[in-house]
């Protein structure tokens, strides 16, 4: 019984949150990886693109809530999501037209685009904070739990409860659907294959009659959709605050690089590696250990390796280790 309780406690505090967080990171890292392999630079503005998409979704959600449109037990934000995606698509296309296209025409080296994207990051960051303010915004509604801790306890008779929040369930399901769609698109459709071809060899894609501007446009559209979905899911799960999205950039980049930049499967795996490490290292293991260890060995402290304030350090360390020992990532990168 103690063993079961330990597993439930572990699931409740580590596994379920890490799966949800990992899905969000994976979606973010997929966007970064797509830009990296097709537009060939690391897009530092990705976190703020996520923030912008999420912000637009929140604004539409508020409109829906004020006129009384709801999605039953599911959060209204899901209804508003398509509008957020469209707004985010518009933003990235305008940005591409106004900023990145000039550098593409110049055949600028990727590292220059990295710096350019940093500039774009600051502007987007400013826009988001200007429109919605720097504070915390809550926009989640509908049922709060798929399964609450109390129901679980009553149902199983265990002393530990397992709660699964609606946002966590939605995050996981949405992530699976989005990833499946993306893989189908890249591997089976003509446009998807042309994007892979362009990623592989720009000049040869041109010689096959593939219009580079078209490929770039599709890439931005997909990235905008991925970023908005990731941003909204993160906002639903935690809360929306522009600055946290800026901070998310680090775990997202760590996920993409740990998995192997340019490799979509790597981005997903990397997302989960980072999420699980972050949460297991910042989790206080006392409760689980009490169940597992004999009474004489029971820990007197929290057994928390790092305070949650330092969770970003975890991504940093993993990033460092991977770059030192396996710079191409767990899955060999650059193979869209």
């Amino acid at each position: 019984m103690d063993f079961l309780n330990a597993i439930i406690a572990l699931s409740n505090f580590v596994i379920v949150p890490a799966i949800a967080y990992g899905s969000q990171l994976a979606l973010g890292a997929l966007g970064v990886t797509l830009i990296y392999s097709i537009l060939r630079f690391s897009n530092f503005a990705h976190g703020d693109t996520m923030a912008f998409g999420a912000m637009c979704t929140i604004l539409v959600t508020w409109v829906f809530q004020s006129v009384g449109i709801s999605f039953g037990p599911l959060p209204t934000a899901l209804l508003a999501l398509p509008f957020g995606i469209l707004a985010c698509m518009a933003l990235v296309l305008v940005t591409d037209r106004a900023v990145y296209r000039f550098y593409r025409d110049q055949k600028a080296k990727p590292v220059i685009l990295v710096i350019v994207s940093m500039g774009v990051m600051f502007i987007m960051n400013g826009i988001v904070r200007f429109i919605i303010g720097p504070g915390d915004q809550r926009f989640a509604d509908g049922e709060r739990f798929i399964m609450s801790a109390r129901d679980f306890k009553a149902w199983t008779g265990l002393s530990e409860g397992l709660a699964i929040r609606t946002s966590q369930g939605i995050t996981f399901v949405t992530a699976i659907i989005v990833v499946a769609l993306l893989f189908w698109f890249l591997n089976k459709t003509r446009t998807g294959k042309s994007m892979r071809a362009y990623s592989d060899n720009e000049d040869l894609a041109l010689l096959s009659g593939i219009n580079p501007e078209r490929v770039v446009m599709y890439t931005w559209l997909i990235v905008a959709a991925l970023a908005t979905v990731a941003g909204v899911l993160y906002g639903l799960d935690k809360s929306f605050k522009p600055f946290t999205y800026f901070q998310l950039l680090l775990p997202i980049f760590a996920s993409a690089i740990v998995g192997g930049l340019g490799n979509p499967i790597g981005a997903i795996a990397g997302g989960f590696v980072i999420a699980f490490s972050e949460i297991t290292i910042t989790y206080a293991w006392k409760k689980v250990l009490i169940y597992l260890l004999p009474e004489s060995l029971e820990p007197s402290t929290l057994v928390q390796l790092l305070s949650t304030d330092y969770k970003f350090a975890v991504s940093f360390v993993i990033l460092l280790i991977v770059l030192l020992f396996r710079p191409t990532g767990l899955f060999k990168g650059k193979a869209l």
Partner: protein, 275 residues
């Protein structure tokens, strides 16, 4: 290469932020010009072209190359003579500021490279001429990107022409040997059903046996009526199968004539064919 500050990566070698692999060099990809009728003349001609890369110095000077249906035209010349540049200029991948390119009775100088593909030009570059991470079959599919009709028939024809590709069709093209890669490259270009095929050193880096084989295939393709414009290192062998030959010297037309004439020309023999 052109003094453009944006093309300087300031020594960055960090692949975790910048991905230099496969970046394009072609210019004019956003050109939106239209083709204008220009009847008469050879089927494909790059007429008195002058131009170079970016804002850099001119590499071609009044260079003219042309080919007609059923013919093989070969461009030979010493290293750095501008042979590959001439091919890219015909394809619109660099700035040609004087001269024109005409195909099948139309002036296509104002067209972007991708629009020239739609007009019926097929080009096999010298290096990185396959999509290494895509399978052989996907390479061929990408060759047929502009086609809206059913291209399976063409794919069968290409598998007949290069049987080895059929066996390897689900393998990543980057895993193939040099000769097989060249077959994929030529196959990809043929998938568009081009009206003219341009090959930039198709035999570079393959063994002599494979080279003979490739030459035979190229002759096969030419017999189907597709004009072929080709740059070759193996000048002697190439001129033997050529209906037209051009010897480029420092971006200018040095000598031109039929393949046999050039082979017989003592000047050409002495300077470019090693006696």
């Amino acid at each position: 290469m052109s003094g453009n500050p944006y093309q300087d990566d300031r020594g960055n070698k960090d692949a975790s932020i910048a991905n230099p692999k496969g970046q394009g060099t072609a210019e004019n990809t956003r050109k939106k010009g239209k083709a204008t009728p220009a009847p008469g003349g050879p089927f494909l001609i790059g007429d008195t072209m002058t131009g170079g890369y970016g804002k850099g110095p001119d590499i071609l000077h009044d260079c003219t190359i042309a080919v007609n249906p059923g013919e093989i035209a070969v461009i030979v010349g010493p290293n750095g003579a501008g042979k590959s540049t001439a091919m890219k200029a015909v394809f619109g991948m660099l700035n040609v500021h004087s001269g024109s390119v005409r195909l099948d009775g139309e002036d296509i100088t104002a067209l972007s490279p991708q629009d020239r593909v739609i007009k019926g030009m097929g080009f096999v570059p010298q290096t990185s001429n396959i999509f290494t991470s895509l399978t052989v079959e996907e390479n061929l599919e990408m060759g047929a990107f502009i086609r809206k009709d059913d291209f399976r028939e063409t794919m069968h024809q290409i598998y007949d022409l290069f049987p080895i590709l059929k066996d390897k069709r689900n393998q990543a093209a980057g895993e193939l040997s040099g000769g097989q890669r060249q077959q994929v490259a030529v196959g990809r270009a043929l998938m568009t059903q081009p009206k003219v095929l341009m090959l930039d050193e198709p035999t570079a880096g393959v063994s002599p046996i494979v080279m003979d084989e490739l030459f035979d295939r190229i002759i096969d393709v030419a017999r189907t009526g597709i004009p072929i414009l080709m740059v070759e290192q193996n000048a002697r062998q190439a001129l033997e199968i050529a209906d037209r030959g051009y010897v480029l010297v420092q971006g200018r037309n040095g000598y031109s004539g039929t393949g046999k004439e050039l082979l017989a020309d003592p000047e050409v023999r002495k300077s470019f064919l090693g006696g």
